[in-house]
């Protein structure tokens, strides 16, 4: 065919070697977007799906109707959680590079998404995270040692050796088992919320997926079922601009914001600054109250930036400008909350540095503890008999036979 | 030491099985390559099978009379690794190439290319045993179901020794039962063995009877005879023939022979006369193909000559008698009948006749009802030539008379045609000069 193709092909504004350009990210001034009542109809708040809810301005002041007016103590807790998440991520990244764990995924730059979101919910609310929401686990008090043992697949692994690293779960912590398949948790969260409603409880479910994953059919099913049954669920799209090397244009972000899909299903859609602790908290709080009072589901788009690679198997320098994240217009969540707290007189650079050291020590100590339960090369190992358990509730005869066969191969 | 399993070779022309006639070796014997180990028979051809390797016989399969499927194990040898074949092996090729007389050559000739094989084994057979350490038989497996394998294992039966009667030589359960029974009964007699006890089963006291297995040629004859009689509506036509002049010619020809040369019998003269007769009666020189429902008319005349041999009746064939002179017919007839009697006739020499002549010579009697050699449609029988008083030109004269007792397949040969043919033959025999007059305006 000699004719020139007329097919539109999305491309990011800057490839490696090019100057970063985030002019495509629609920003609203901090505090400019109104805060509707939690009872507002989805069709009456459609503008929130394309604007950007922000509380912290560029000077670190909290402004506007979305200010959650949190206590300084809560903010300090939030800051600590975010810093611990980052410290944990940093250490585990280095640990993977040192060959001591096989795989890791960081949440650099997205700490507020999980921490603020998690803190705005109740312990009885069921969380259906993706693999990049480790901040939720930190908030819910899951011990670092336990998370590290999962990364090590050692004798204390919560998954008993069956899952890839970072695929945590916690029944007591109400954190659903993380799946390697994208977006599957979204409609599952809706089902959980439907059951809560059926039972007449005021618990709600919340789930997080990346903008790339919103392309999957499960995303559509989640929104459809949430809308049809008015399920008490908060559906979060973490738009960190990248899905491995796939730019958000391939998820449909060029033509419409992700939050705007909500109103299409008759669901309230709110687009918020994912790097603004206060905004994330406030929007989550709004959606939770809406759900708990029978107002149904909310679709929240958290606009943020994936600060690091997709995983330890990825190298973003191959598809995006190396200093991309430094140009991200919405800054860094930890830095911004720190500056806000300092502005409030409730924090200092010194205390911040000290906290960094304290948290690094905590992470290091946790690691020392975790490796006692076995590493990839040394120490106690999980019994491979475990491979045959939990396939079903009770081990069936054919698996007993296979286990016996495996044992004979072992000896 | 390793084992070499020799399987029943393909003896040519779609043979699927062969009957064991006689073993020339037994377990424990040491044999040299090419040494005759067993005699088998297909249709009417007896074939001597040479050893493909030098070695010791470990086991043999089947007793005389047993039919062994082509490709199924026949005999197991123990061969030594690294030991070159002994002298006889080197010597045999030379012996094998000499014509006719040796059995090896006979086997080769009879079995076409397959014989020089026992083809599946040829790599092993050709080179001295040294080069073939593998014990596994080349190609071929014992075919039987898993359940039968287990039964054989449990009964201690070596499947290699069991003849398979199922499709493709597969061993079916009955075969195992038979093998098991055969073992528990002890060795079956081959040939006539004095029976002990009430062998006849009819109360006849022991020692009064003996049993002869119907095997080998006898069995073949029995099968062919009953089949011919069953399928063909025979009708007989007997005619007297005055062979006085024929006898005079015969004596004259014999008087001219050199000393030691075999003399002429009636047979070649009759064959020549028959050939001439068939020119006018081609409908008697046909073969009936029952499968296709067609009569195949042959231009050539291949005359079967019924011959009594120590093994029983055989019918060697004088091929293309129509193209032969008297001397040639006589010589060929003599050759094939002698070979048949000596049990050396090849398969080609025993098949393919288009019409058969049978003669009992001095024992001929005055009339007989010969059985047609299917798939032919006519058989000409010669009774005894004797001097008889006949009426000739109004007076009693002594003439030499020989009756012809012929049988025809009434499905395809009408009475009139049969009679006309015999009359024509009679004319030639009574006026033998006419045998040698070429036919004018041959078609």
């Amino acid at each position: 065919m000699n004719k020139k193709s007329r097919l539109h092909l999305p491309n990011p504004p800057a490839r490696p070697g090019q100057k970063p350009d985030f002019s495509y990210v629609h920003l609203s001034p901090a505090g400019a977007v109104p805060r509707p009542e939690v009872t507002a109809r989805a069709r009456d708040m459609e503008s929130l799906a394309v604007e950007l809810v922000r509380v912290l301005d560029d000077d670190g002041e909290a402004v506007g109707p979305w200010n959650p007016h949190l206590d300084a103590q809560d903010l300090q807790v939030g800051l600590r959680h975010m810093m611990l998440t980052r410290s944990f991520d940093d250490r585990m990244q280095r640990t993977q590079r040192a060959g001591k764990i096989s795989f890791y995924m960081r949440s650099l730059g997205e700490e507020a998404v999980s921490v603020a979101g998690g803190m705005a919910l109740r312990p009885g609310d069921m969380l259906f995270p993706s693999y990049r929401n480790q901040g939720l686990h930190i908030v819910r008090g899951i011990a670092l040692v336990d998370m590290m043992c999962q990364l090590l697949s050692n004798t204390r692994d919560m998954c008993k050796g069956r899952q890839l690293p970072v695929m945590y779960h916690s029944k007591p912590g109400n954190l659903f088992s993380i799946s390697g398949n994208l977006a599957t948790q979204f409609p599952q969260a809706v089902g959980w919320a439907m059951a809560a409603a059926l039972k007449g409880e005021d618990h709600l479910a919340a789930s997080w997926i990346g903008e790339g994953s919103s392309a999957e059919a499960d995303f559509h099913h989640a929104l459809l079922f949430a809308s049809v049954y008015q399920a008490p669920v908060i559906l979060n799209i973490v738009n960190n601009q990248w899905a491995i090397s796939t730019f958000q244009g391939y998820a449909g972000g060029e033509q419409r914001s992700f939050a705007a899909r909500g109103p299409g299903y008759g669901i309230a859609g709110i687009r918020a600054d994912g790097n603004d602790f206060l905004a994330v908290y406030a929007v989550t709080q709004w959606a939770a109250e809406r759900a708990r009072t029978g107002g149904g589901p909310t679709l929240v788009e958290l606009v943020t930036y994936r600060g690091a690679a997709h995983s330890t198997s990825d190298d973003p320098a191959r598809y995006r400008a190396k200093d991309d994240e430094a140009h991200w217009p919405l800054g860094d969540p930890i830095d911004r909350l720190k500056r806000h707290l300092i502005k409030l007189g409730e924090w200092s650079e010194e205390r911040h540095r000290a906290l960094v050291v304290e948290l690094e020590a905590l992470v290091a100590a946790s690691w020392q503890e975790a490796v006692k339960f076995g590493t990839m090369s040394e120490g106690p190992k999980l019994n491979s008999d475990l491979m045959f358990e939990d396939v079903f509730k009770d081990i069936p005869p054919h698996l007993e036979r296979q286990r016996a066969q495996m044992r004979s191969e072992r000896s | 030491m390793s084992e070499y399993v020799f399987k029943m070779p393909d003896l040519g022309e779609g043979t699927v099985e062969a009957e064991i006639v006689a073993w020339h070796t037994a377990p424990g014997d040491a044999v040299a390559e090419d040494q005759i180990i067993v005699e088998v028979m297909t249709d009417k051809a007896a074939v001597e099978v040479p050893a493909p390797v030098s070695g010791r016989v470990v086991s043999i399969r089947g007793a005389p009379g047993d039919k062994i499927a082509v490709g199924s194990p026949l005999i197991v040898f123990e061969v030594s690794r690294g030991a070159p074949a002994a002298g006889p092996a080197a010597g045999t090729p030379a012996a094998a190439t000499s014509a006719a007389a040796t059995s090896a050559a006979a086997t080769s000739a009879a079995a076409t290319s397959a014989a020089a094989s026992p083809s599946t084994m040829s790599p092993a057979a050709a080179s001295p045993a040294a080069a073939t350490p593998s014990a596994a038989p080349a190609g071929g497996r014992i075919m039987t179901s898993p359940a039968n394998r287990r039964r054989a294992r449990e009964a201690g039966i070596d499947l290699a020794t069991v003849a398979g009667s199922g499709p493709g030589g597969r061993i079916v359960r009955e075969d195992l039962l038979a093998a098991s029974a055969a073992r528990t009964d002890g060795a079956e007699a081959d040939g006539a063995a004095p029976a002990t006890g009430d062998a006849a089963g009819d109360g006849t006291p022991a020692g009064e009877t003996s049993e002869i297995k119907v095997i080998g040629v006898r069995r073949l004859i029995a099968e062919r005879m009953s089949e011919a009689k069953r399928n063909i509506p025979h009708f007989a036509y007997v005619e007297e023939v005055d062979v006085t002049e024929l006898e005079a010619l015969r004596r004259h020809l014999n008087s001219k022979l050199a000393k030691g040369e075999p003399s002429f019998t009636y047979l070649p003269l009759v064959i020549l006369a028959l050939v001439r007769t068939l020119e006018s009666f081609p409908q008697c020189n046909v073969l009936y193909d029952a499968a296709r429902g067609v009569l195949v008319r042959h231009r050539a005349v291949h005359v079967g000559v019924a011959t009594q041999t120590p093994d029983g009746l055989k019918v060697p064939v004088v091929r293309n008698a129509q193209a032969m002179s008297l001397a040639e017919v006589a010589a060929e007839t003599r050759r094939v009948t002698e070979r048949a009697r000596a049990n050396k006739a090849t398969r080609e020499e025993l098949v393919g006749s288009t019409i058969t002549v049978t003669s009992l010579g001095k024992l001929g009697g005055i009339a007989s009802t010969p059985i047609i050699n299917a798939p032919e449609v006519a058989i000409i029988g010669l009774n005894k030539a004797v001097e008889r008083p006949v009426v000739l030109d109004g007076a009693v004269a002594v003439r030499r008379i020989m009756n012809l007792s012929s049988s025809f397949d009434h499905r395809f040969v009408d009475g009139y045609d049969a009679a006309a043919m015999i009359q024509s033959l009679k004319e030639l025999l009574e006026h033998p000069a006419m045998i040698f007059i070429p036919k004018v305006n041959s078609p």
Partner: protein, 338 residues
């Protein structure tokens, strides 16, 4: 005891479980107000309310995913997929999530979901209403796969499935909803009322998983089958006058290997029959297991009877369907070996 056809038996199972266990909910397309396109959930929404018997959007993936979420929140969902032909949009949630949840969370999370779906042909439904995909599911570790062939088994197995804490895919041979079918479409339909397996207890009872049913004991050969083929096989064997031991597998996963092996070791001859397509069908697993366990007992090669490896055709229904003629051929083939 009551006469029930398979639909009534299934309805009874769900009725009883809705009554016994408040965590049981039904969900599916057209199952609530309408009672289901096959009437299997008739009257249940009226009896138990909209909060126990839910109509859903036409989204098989969404039905199964939300069922999982509900199950994680303590409910015991029974999700209907209207035709097994439509189960594929939900296949990812079944395989990647439902089948693995207990395993990957070391038992911390599990979803006791029962997925019921009508399967099989013989109803002139063409390729989108006649498929038998049960073999595909047996290949996925972590789910149980069941197919009853009669009302008694249907009710008992469905109750077992609902009570089971493991996920179950429950295939219902729709040709047998109203009566046993011997493969001859020209004969008038026979209702379940005349059949002993149409006698169904009205109360709660279970038929266990992992136990095959010897429908007809016999000595000459073993015929292993399930679903619609059970009655075709019985008729074919009867017509041939052969003394066949006919086994209804009914629980595909977990499989009752012992019963199958015992039978084939006894008879030495085996035919495996199912309606599903032949290549890599569940029959291949059955044949393989029998070969492994019963090799030294086999008098003949194992024969397989199955649908042809084509999409299920409409006009050629009865040449496609493995009827008595195909079964008879297999029986003869296996009997003629000595």
């Amino acid at each position: 005891m009551a006469h029930m056809n398979m639909i009534q038996a299934l309805n009874s199972a769900m009725d009883i479980m809705l009554g016994r266990d408040p965590s049981v909910v039904l969900m599916g397309e057209d199952i609530g107000y309408f009672g289901g396109v096959f009437r299997t959930t008739e009257g249940l929404q009226r009896k138990y309310g909209e909060n126990r018997v839910l109509d859903t959007p036409i989204a098989e993936g969404g039905i199964i995913a939300t069922a999982i979420g509900m199950a994680v929140n303590g409910l015991r969902p029974v999700a209907e997929i209207q035709f097994a032909d439509y189960i594929y949009p939900g296949f990812d949630q079944i395989v990647s999530e439902l089948a693995r949840l207990r395993y990957r969370s070391a038992g911390q999370f599990f979803a006791p979901v029962t997925i019921r779906t009508p399967a099989g042909g013989g109803i002139r439904g063409g390729q989108t209403h006649s498929q038998s995909p049960e073999g595909i599911f047996t290949h996925v570790s972590g789910i149980k796969v069941v197919m009853p062939s009669n009302p008694y088994d249907a009710k008992g197995l469905l109750i077992t499935a609902i009570e089971d804490d493991d996920p179950v895919v429950f295939f219902e041979p729709k040709r047998l909803y109203n009566g046993p079918f011997d493969g001859d479409p020209h004969k008038p339909a026979v209702p379940w009322t005349t059949h002993p397996k149409g006698q169904v207890p009205e109360g709660h009872y279970t038929v266990p998983f992992g136990v095959a049913d010897i429908v007809r004991p016999g000595s000459q050969l073993t015929i292993i089958t399930y679903g619609t083929m059970v009655f075709v096989v019985l008729a074919a064997a009867a017509a041939l006058g052969v003394d066949a031991e006919v086994i209804d597998v009914r629980s595909l996963v977990p499989l009752d290997v012992d019963t199958l092996v015992r039978s084939v070791k006894k008879t030495g001859r085996c035919v495996v029959a199912h309606e599903a397509t032949r290549f890599s069908g569940f029959g291949a697993e059955l044949v393989s297991v029998i070969q492994e366990e019963c090799f030294w007992s086999l008098e003949a090669p194992i024969q397989r009877v199955a649908g042809w490896d084509t999409p299920y055709p409409h006009a050629f229904e009865w040449e496609y369907f493995p009827g008595q003629a195909r079964v008879a051929k297999a029986i003869k083939a296996v009997m003629e070996w000595a």
